[in-house]
């Protein structure tokens, strides 16, 4: 475990020292603050729209951070050849992969914690209402979503040639699942035949990332989700993250380093 934590520590240090994450954090915070401070047309419901915009921004930022951070980890190790002194130590490739995963995921969770804490502060100050459980559930499911995306990106980074292609393909897949995932079974039922069967198969095979998007819980101040559902979603996400990591490791294990 100490090796995994050591590798993860370097990933987090790298992220702390890179400027792009700060830019993203600053921009999101600025927009949240600006939107939180305006009172358009004296509409009492305006807070909901503002919350929706801010949460969408947080979601976009988290997807960008998760994919962009994870996509370059293994290729950068190969390109800068830092993988050689690392693997010359008593370190296995599985430990490198797990360390990279935990490092990227922790970095994402830390950014998310910052985003949510700031958003909760701005929104709570404006509404004088503090549904902490809702915020925690939304944050946790968002963190599980990031775990699946990071694992999927790491798998992409060892299968695809360049980080740019990994970012593009994983980005399209994640966006596609978020937008279309929940509708696939309905389309499959309407289509019927072989195409319908194929769509059904895809519906059951893909990780349903849209289940982790519970922005409405905060926007409309709905009652908190049953904790059993949260636990089931967490297990589902962990299973997919594990599956992607095993696939990434199987490829990385046989990958030529030169």
């Amino acid at each position: 475990m100490h090796i995994i934590l050591a590798v993860a520590g370097v990933v987090i240090l790298e992220m702390i020292r890179r400027k792009d994450v700060y830019v993203l954090l600053f921009l999101t915070a600025l927009i949240t603050l600006l939107l939180g401070s305006v009172n358009l047309f004296g509409d009492p419901n305006i807070a909901r729209y503002l919350k929706e915009v801010c949460l969408t921004l947080i979601w976009i930022s988290s997807v960008v951070i998760a994919i962009a951070t994870a996509a370059r980890q293994i290729p950068a190790e190969k390109e800068s050849r830092t993988i050689f002194p690392l693997l010359a130590k008593p370190v296995t490739r599985a430990q490198v992969m797990l360390g990279k995963f935990f490092g990227c995921w922790t970095a994402c969770v830390l950014s998310l914690a910052l985003f949510y804490a700031f958003f909760c502060l701005v929104s709570g100050t404006k509404e004088h209402y503090w549904p902490i459980t809702n915020y925690f559930q939304a944050f946790w499911l968002h963190a599980v979503f990031c775990a699946v995306v990071v694992a999927m990106t790491l798998m992409g980074s060892v299968l695809l040639a360049a980080p740019s292609s990994t970012i593009t393909i994983v980005g399209v897949v994640v966006l596609g699942i978020l937008l279309l995932g929940r509708h696939l079974n309905k389309v499959a039922a309407k289509t019927g035949g072989l195409a319908g069967d194929l769509l059904s198969a895809i519906y059951f095979a893909i990780p349903h990332l849209e289940w982790y998007d519970v922005r409405d819980l905060i926007i409309h101040n709905w009652p908190a989700i049953n904790w059993t559902v949260i636990a089931t979603d967490t297990l589902y996400g962990a299973a997919f993250a594990g599956l992607f990591l095993v696939a990434a490791w199987a490829r990385f294990r046989r990958m030529a380093l030169n």
Partner: protein, 274 residues
């Protein structure tokens, strides 16, 4: 093959590094080229406390051998052992330090952070870790620059930072891949001094180099590899024959290099003639 690599008796110390009929083949990427043999049945044995020079022209198979020893590449045949453990087991690398030919380190880290990272991999306790970092940074004379990011280091300093990371676990065996490559004379001298100091401390050093003078100065034994085959191994004195006065002459003879028929000489002669 001249004076094969065994220098100890059967009851003497066990080799720290051993290869047995090591064979590595690569599938060529060029169409119609088939399989290329990088190593052909290499037998090597390096004993505790030795400084062992691994020589050969470019493409001889030195780096391939090191890649197999460090688990970066798999052997097609034969076996390799570090401290009696198969090199495919990560635990075989617990007591070694490795310095690559070029410095490949996380440039956003400082030397201190880099060493802390590698020390954590070896599970060195925190108090011991900090003490060890102080010791190796002083040894490689980087104590004054320990808080500077590695990207701001000169090439010589980066190479010494590399040596520091190779020494962080106080290894019994150091594998150095052309440790003085690309360094200026002062940098070379400093690296040579460090190797000499490690030798005096009883460490085993296995290193590849193209610098014959350097090898002659610091090595107890050398092995010469050519086209994936071990051509000779032994002490420098044992490799010299006839009126040869230095290792370079012996090296050129052993790899069967004909100075007069080399293309460089031919072109030089043509140039002189014109």
């Amino acid at each position: 093959m001249n004076n094969m690599s065994q220098s100890s008796s059967a009851n003497g110390p066990q080799p720290i590094l051993r290869t047995e009929k090591l064979r590595v083949e690569f599938r060529s990427r060029e169409i119609g080229q088939g399989v290329k043999v990088a190593l052909q049945g290499l037998d090597l044995a390096v004993y505790p406390g030795e400084v062992f020079g691994f020589l050969g022209p470019n493409g001889a198979g030195k780096t391939t051998t090191m890649n197999v020893l460090l688990g970066f590449a798999n052997a097609t045949g034969g076996a390799a052992y570090l401290f009696g453990t198969d090199v495919r087991q990560p635990i075989a690398r617990q007591r070694i330090g490795y310095l690559p030919e070029m410095t490949y380190y996380y440039k956003f880290l400082t030397a201190e952070e880099l060493l802390r990272f590698y020390a954590r991999i070896f599970k060195i306790p925190m108090a011991e870790r900090e003490r060890r970092i102080d010791v190796v940074l002083k040894l490689v004379e980087l104590d004054h620059a320990r808080k500077r990011p590695i990207r701001t280091y000169s090439k010589g300093m980066q190479q010494r930072a590399g040596l520091a990371q190779a020494l962080i676990n106080n290894p019994d065996l150091l594998i150095l891949d052309e440790p003085t490559s690309g360094l200026d004379p002062i940098g070379r001298m400093k690296v040579r001094e460090i190797i000499q100091r490690l030798k005096n401390e009883g460490k085993t050093v296995f290193f590849s180099s193209h610098e014959m003078g350097e090898v002659e100065t610091v090595c107890d034994r050398v092995a010469i590899l050519h086209q994936g085959e071990l051509k000779a191994a032994g002490t420098v004195a044992s490799l010299l024959t006839g009126n040869e006065t230095n290792l370079e002459q012996a090296f050129l003879r052993i790899i069967d290099f004909n100075l007069n028929s080399s293309s460089i000489c031919t072109s030089s002669s043509l140039l002189l003639a014109s």
